[in-house]
Amino acid sequence: MTTYILRRLLLSIPVLLGILFATFVLARVIPGDPCRAALGEKANKTVCDEFMRRHGLDRPIPVQFGVYINEMAHGDFGKSFRFSKTVNELMIERLPITIELSICALLVSILIGIPLGVISAVKHNTWLDVVTMLWANIGVSMPVFWLGLLLAYIFSLTLKGTPFQLPPSGRLSPGLLTDPFMEVWGIKLTEGTTLATFSEFISRMNILNALLSANWKTFKDAVQHIILPSVALGTIPMALIARMTRSAMLDVLGQDYIRTARAKGLRQKAVILKHAFRNALLPIVTVIGLSLGGLLGGAILTETIFNLSGVGRILYEGITARDYGIVQGFTLVIAVFFVFINLLVDISYAYLDPRIRVN
């Protein structure tokens, strides 16, 4: 297993190098003047020359690439022109919001998608199967931005005044305080240390932070705010997972060993959960892994609609405002995350199906 993981890690290196090169080129070929995008159209030549010099943009491209590689190797993602902050600081601010949203969306998709797929396969060719698959097909075809707007309309306007009313935008209700959990615990950390950065990162995930500091009012508010974005973002993966679970289960349920298990007199529940589901997991895991990538793309749209200041939104704004630092840093992190997820999917294959390890 270790050899297998090592081999897969080695195979990822050329792709990672390619990604480094692609993000650098991407940021450089975006047309327009970064100085005027950052300082405004009225910035004169002297100011712009100074700006370019300060950010190292007056150097030859190969030198800039060398500096970039060197900075990346030291975990330094550079500076944002617009925010006058380092990209690392912006990542600590923005990543937790998108991670929290993606985890919630993935939970929605797995917790609903898998049971729907299993029920649909077990009740094959019944009305339940037809309705479930119709719903899954509609779910796959749903534009995220449209679904988000519809959900906001239904849950914050149509259901206003009912217990089902949900907030249409933002991460927390205005005026709600969120003290970092470490402060609530009375622990003071020295700024700049890894532990302090990590705890700041965690405390920006509102649900987790509220849970850790036992602030139930904020917890309830944070959960209420994330339901609609998670459902909007999680619908397409949910539908994909449901469809894949159904077809994988149908494949497995037709196998001889399932008939044997039934002939042995095993209960239906044991046959489905222990014999069939475990063997149907492989394609389901693939779809979940692939969906994670799609979630990040969908996050751009979901964050725009629900007014969340996450990675998707900052990246979109960074690209349109030619903020090299943000484009390079965040694109790189997302792409590396993608490669990492693919690696995890491959490793989980080897865990779930021992034949892959041998081959």
Partner: protein, 317 residues
């Protein structure tokens, strides 16, 4: 490709040649969900071709610019007015109301079908042509050519498709054609991979070796022997690809990077009115519904085709 089927007919054995496409069509016709998809697609194609007859107004013209139009009714985001449902006869009929620029929403929606279908077919055709060539060359020649092409594809696949498309559009400049190109480029790796896999399995077949032994050139083998036989998975991938291309194009237009005003594109229409969802929900609802139906029909047809072309499922139909 032809398949011989034996048929017992009044005691004697007769052989009838049936092509793979006949079998596929026969199986496809028996799939209700695929037929629903074909029906929706038929309706959309009909709308796209007849939009200029069906649409009561010019999709890009404001009611203020129309002669003799009663100015008291030319209001922003006017609710739908249907005479059969009790709307006063003196008020001009607008089945889906007016949009924020006082244009007829129904006419814009009809014209939108043209753009969406064009987007779907154009991007997929572009991606299939480039992807097929790259995949075929990589699979057939192998070695360093294969390595370079497929590593570039891996890098492209390492970015979320919408993000990459946004980046490419930013480089090329906002606009529908650039959006199409961006989505096309983003979709290339999927086709290249499918094609490469097919070529790898086909290039070892006996009939390919036979052509080689007869002195066939690489190009001849690739384009006349291998490509035609590797098309099946590409067709399935292409149909499903049209669905995701339409979704991505709508998303780009929604973000303001695709079709520019006053082009009647569903994503752009939705994006322009997204802040009015609480006051004029019909302007958000219908364009989104049209996108969903269009994507749904291609997904249903794609699924149907995949099942129909899958020999393992032959017993089902």
């Amino acid at each position: 490709m032809a398949v011989n089927t034996a048929k017992l007919n009044s005691g004697e054995l007769s052989l009838k040649s049936v092509s793979l496409w006949q079998i596929t069509m026969h199986r496809l016709l028996r799939r209700k969900s695929a037929m629903v998809g074909v029906f929706i697609l038929g309706a959309l194609i009909f709308i796209a071709f007849t939009a200029h007859w069906l649409a009561p107004y010019d999709p890009t013209k404001s009611m203020l610019d129309i002669k003799d139009y009663p100015s008291e009714y030319a209001k922003k985001r006017l609710d739908p007015c249907i005479h059969a449902l009790g709307c006063p006869a003196e008020q001009p009929q607008h089945l889906l109301g007016l949009d924020g620029n006082i244009r007829d929403e129904f006419s814009r929606l009809l014209y939108g079908a043209r753009l969406s279908l064009m987007v779907g077919f154009a991007t997929v055709t572009f991606a299939i042509i480039i992807g097929t060539i790259l995949g075929a060359v990589a699979g057939y020649f192998g070695g360093w050519i294969d390595n370079i092409i497929m590593r570039v594809m891996d890098v492209l696949l390492a970015f979320p498709s919408l993000l990459l498309a946004i980046a490419i559009v930013t480089v090329l400049g906002a606009g529908l054609i650039n959006a199409l190109l961006a989505i096309g480029i983003v979709s290339i790796p999927a086709y290249a991979r499918v094609m490469r896999a097919s070529v790898l399995s086909i290039r070892e077949m006996d009939y390919v070796s036979a052509t080689r032994a007869l002195g066939g050139s690489n190009l001849q083998i690739l384009f006349r022997r291998i490509l035609p036989n590797a098309l099946t998975p590409l067709i399935v991938q292409g149909t499903l690809g049209i669905a995701s291309a339409i979704l991505d194009a709508a998303a780009l237009s929604f973000l303001g990077l695709g079709a520019q005003p006053p082009t009647p594109e569903w994503g752009a229409m939705l994006g322009a009115e997204r802040n009015q969802v609480f006051t004029a929900p019909h302007l958000v609802f219908y364009p989104g519904l049209m996108i969903m139906l269009t994507v749904l029909c291609f997904n249903l047809i794609g699924d149907g085709l995949r099942d129909a072309l899958d020999p393992r499922l032959a017993h089902v139909s």
